[in-house]
């Protein structure tokens, strides 16, 4: 029944319009039976307003527990070529940089074994090969590794770390996001490929508080670049912005979250002790202002989507840390977290939910951090304090 020329009137509607069309993309590969059937299945979904994929099953490559998402159609007779339509998550290079040759290598592998359809990239950051039969998985994998690529994460494992473009192109990177992303990925290959956590664990590295990789919302471990000393000011460039139409008082001073920046029409004055490194003033006048020179990062833990206790933004665990290779501090902290959460976390309990369940103070004790006021919006308001037996406390020290 696989038919590469079937009519798809509903989908065809989506070839129209100025924005790049995913239907056009699919059709570019429609000569493959798999893609022909995908179009048919999708047209059916559009007509019936419901998906036609069955609940995924466990498939993968030898020795790995993650990296492949099993997918089977619930209309295998009608659309036999998508009866199996798994995805392969291929670990992207840090910062999503490619050479044209690397891209062609990937295309060639996928051309040979798969649907010819991809996502560049998946939400976590992987290169996603969309639509692979079970039997082809191992072949794709070995060609990928041969070409220097490897799989990303899936299931209850470390997920593929990702990062912003950082020092590769951005003047605000407060640490080397590309290097650390690569280093952490390489350092934890076992955790990435073999699920053994209570649930998934994601790293995202943003070079500055603009957080161009949405780390605070989307990662269990969010590393956000920041600085300690004064914002660097080029006074003449400030004036140039003012002369070129930036209303510094209104656009900057009034929007500074702590009101610590002021402008007398001639010079900018920043009370750096009050500055919370929000980036706004720097964002508006990139030629005039820059982060300080004493740079590092804030480590936040526990960001996640809503399933199941509700979405969480990551919470401050280390307000400031220098982020220099080989990143031993971060690695030690990470292992301490994995140990404690690994032992006591419930099945499908993200670390953010786990911290809330055991209590942040207890969590800090276990991972070996001291409580500091920067970890909270404000101290507790309820009087329900569990006093720890002081002898026990001392024992710990």
């Amino acid at each position: 029944m696989s038919d590469t020329t079937r009519e798809t009137p509903l989908l065809d509607e989506l070839e129209k319009g100025p924005w790049p069309s995913f239907i056009k993309e699919i059709k570019k590969e429609r000569e493959r039976p798999m893609v022909g059937d995908l179009l048919g299945l999708l047209e059916r979904s559009y007509g019936e307003r419901v998906g036609h994929w069955k609940h995924g099953g466990l498939v993968g490559v030898m020795g790995y527990g993650g990296g492949v998402i099993g997918r089977y159609s619930d209309l295998p007779e009608e659309f036999p070529s998508v009866a199996e339509f798994h995805t392969i998550r291929v670990n992207q290079p840090s910062g999503l940089f490619y050479s044209s040759d690397a891209l062609r290598t990937l295309c060639n592998i996928w051309d040979k074994h798969g649907s010819g359809l991809t996502n560049m990239h998946g939400s976590t950051g992987d290169i996603v090969f969309l639509g692979c039969r079970t039997e082809a998985l191992e072949e794709v994998f070995s060609e990928l590794t041969e070409a220097g690529f490897d799989l990303g994460g899936s299931g209850s494992d470390l997920r593929t770390p990702s990062c912003c473009v950082g020092p590769g192109r951005c003047e605000w990177a407060c640490y080397d996001t590309l290097d650390i992303c690569n280093d952490i990925t390489q350092s934890f290959q076992d955790e990435l490929h073999r699920p053994m956590f209570p649930y998934k664990y994601k790293f995202k590295f943003a070079g500055c508080p603009n957080d161009c990789v949405a780390s605070v919302a989307r990662s269990d471990c969010s590393i956000i670049g920041t600085w300690k000393d004064d914002i660097q000011i080029k006074a003449d460039e400030v004036l140039a912005y003012a002369n070129n139409g930036v209303d510094i008082e209104k656009e900057i001073c009034q929007l500074c979250p702590t009101g610590c920046i002021s402008w007398d029409g001639k010079a900018l004055d920043i009370d750096n002790g009050e500055c919370v490194k929000c980036m706004h003033c720097i964002n508006v006048m990139p030629k005039a202002l820059a982060p300080g020179k004493e740079r590092g990062a804030t480590i936040l833990i526990g960001g996640k989507a809503p399933i199941i206790g509700g979405a969480l933004l990551a919470a401050v665990m280390v307000p400031f840390i220098e982020m220099e290779a080989p990143y031993e501090d971060l690695k030690e902290l990470t292992e301490a977290i994995w140990d404690f959460w690994g032992e006591h976390g419930k099945n499908r309990e993200r670390v953010g939910e786990f911290i809330q369940r055991v209590g942040l103070s207890n969590f800090l004790d276990e991972i070996g951090l001291e409580p500091v006021p920067e970890m909270v919006v404000h101290p507790r308001t309820n009087p329900y304090i569990f006093f720890v037996d002081e002898d026990e406390e001392d024992d710990d020290e």
């Binding site: 999708l42 979904s45 910062g95 690569n182």
Partner: protein, 357 residues
């Protein structure tokens, strides 16, 4: 050939893919400018200039298109390009003169440049009916329908601030829509049905019962099978039971649809990162063009565009004018569904007399 099977090699080192100008000026960028929409110029301390041309992508790419990009990269920028964290493509040029012809070729192929600065960039999104079993709606189709309409805000820089739109096809939120200026979220709105014959064979009852955050699932013997029942009044359609057990059927053409959320953000600029809040609880699935969703989103964008101050993202604007006015201005009805009733609901009740009367 019988080679040793390679594992755990990790991704290729990014350095291999950095153009020489980046290698030279790595970490030594001085500032950037945006001479025109779609083009970023980063000047290094050395004085070198890197030109990035950003073009739209449907994210779901054929290898044909990827090869096209590779060829263009070879032609104009020594083969160097990257993708952005929002799935746009960036061509990295050291020669500014080549930007315009490259742009022309790309636009001719249907890949418009844009998305920089105070614009709407690409919509972060998910699999939908193309690949996922959980999807309450399609992903790519809704995104395409929306971007066809929002495209002028991608190719211009006429908005008060950045606007980040994200899409997820179910509550798992793989599009991480929970902190977006505008979030489009597929929702189920009926309790799942159970396949009682299949269930005992493929699922464990205790872990299924445990999966439900509201305790709506109870063990039961149905038609002689060890199965479960779902207390409909207690189910809020999160789909967690479906994730742990395939015999739970949650997809439903009649009651699946789309909700709209607004005012979230991720960056620390000015305001702290914050979640998106419910604007519209339900719009029907109406493929192939989802006109109700497109109208709702463009309506919100336009009202914000016309009323916000410079640098004021959607949520910051709403914070300033207040939610009452937001609902008033958009004409969106405020309903019982807008009032939180989950774990920390009480924290969202207004507990002061500071009210715009």
């Amino acid at each position: 050939m019988n080679k040793q099977r390679k594992t755990d090699i990790g991704p290729p080192h990014y350095e291999k893919f950095l153009p020489p100008i980046i290698k030279k000026n790595y970490g030594k960028w001085a500032y950037h400018e945006v001479p025109e929409q779609g083009v970023l110029v980063h000047t290094a301390e050395s004085g070198d200039k890197l030109y990035s041309l950003r073009v739209a992508s449907s994210r779901l790419l054929s290898i044909a298109t990827i090869r096209l990009f590779a060829d263009l990269a070879d032609k104009y920028c020594d083969g160097y390009l990257r993708f952005t964290t929002r799935n746009n493509v960036e061509f990295l040029l050291s020669d500014g003169a080549k930007v315009a012809p490259l742009r022309a070729e790309l636009e001719a192929e249907g890949y418009p440049a844009g998305g920089i600065g105070n614009a709407i960039s690409n919509i972060v999104h998910t699999q939908g009916w193309v690949h996922c079993h959980s999807a309450a709606t399609d992903a790519s189709g809704v995104v395409k329908s929306l971007m066809d309409e929002l495209m002028p805000h991608f190719t211009n820089m006429d908005l008060p601030a950045k606007m980040r739109v994200a899409f997820a096809c179910c509550l798992n939120m793989c599009g991480a829509v929970h902190c977006s200026d505008i979030a489009v979220l597929g929702v189920h709105t009926r309790a799942p049905r159970i396949d009682h014959n299949e269930l005992p064979k493929v699922c464990e009852v205790p872990s299924l019962v445990a999966s439900c955050p509201t305790g709506a699932i109870r063990p039961a013997t149905v038609d002689g099978n060890q199965s479960v029942t779902i207390e409909e009044g207690q189910c809020m359609y999160c789909g967690n039971c479906y994730t742990v057990c395939p015999s739970v059927k949650i997809n439903n053409p009649e009651s699946d649809g789309i909700s709209i959320w607004v005012g979230g953000k991720v960056s620390n600029a000015r305001r702290e990162p914050t979640f998106s809040k419910l604007a519209i609880p339900f719009l029907p699935n109406n493929p192939p063009r989802w006109p109700e969703v497109v109208e709702a989103v463009t309506g919100i964008v336009n009202i914000w565009k016309d009323n916000a101050n410079k640098h004021e993202r959607l949520g910051e604007w709403i914070d300033r004018i207040g939610w009452s006015r937001f609902f008033e201005m958009t004409g969106i009805p405020f309903t019982r569904y807008h009032i939180d009733d989950f774990t920390h609901a009480g924290e969202t009740y207004k507990r002061s007399a500071q009210i715009r009367q």
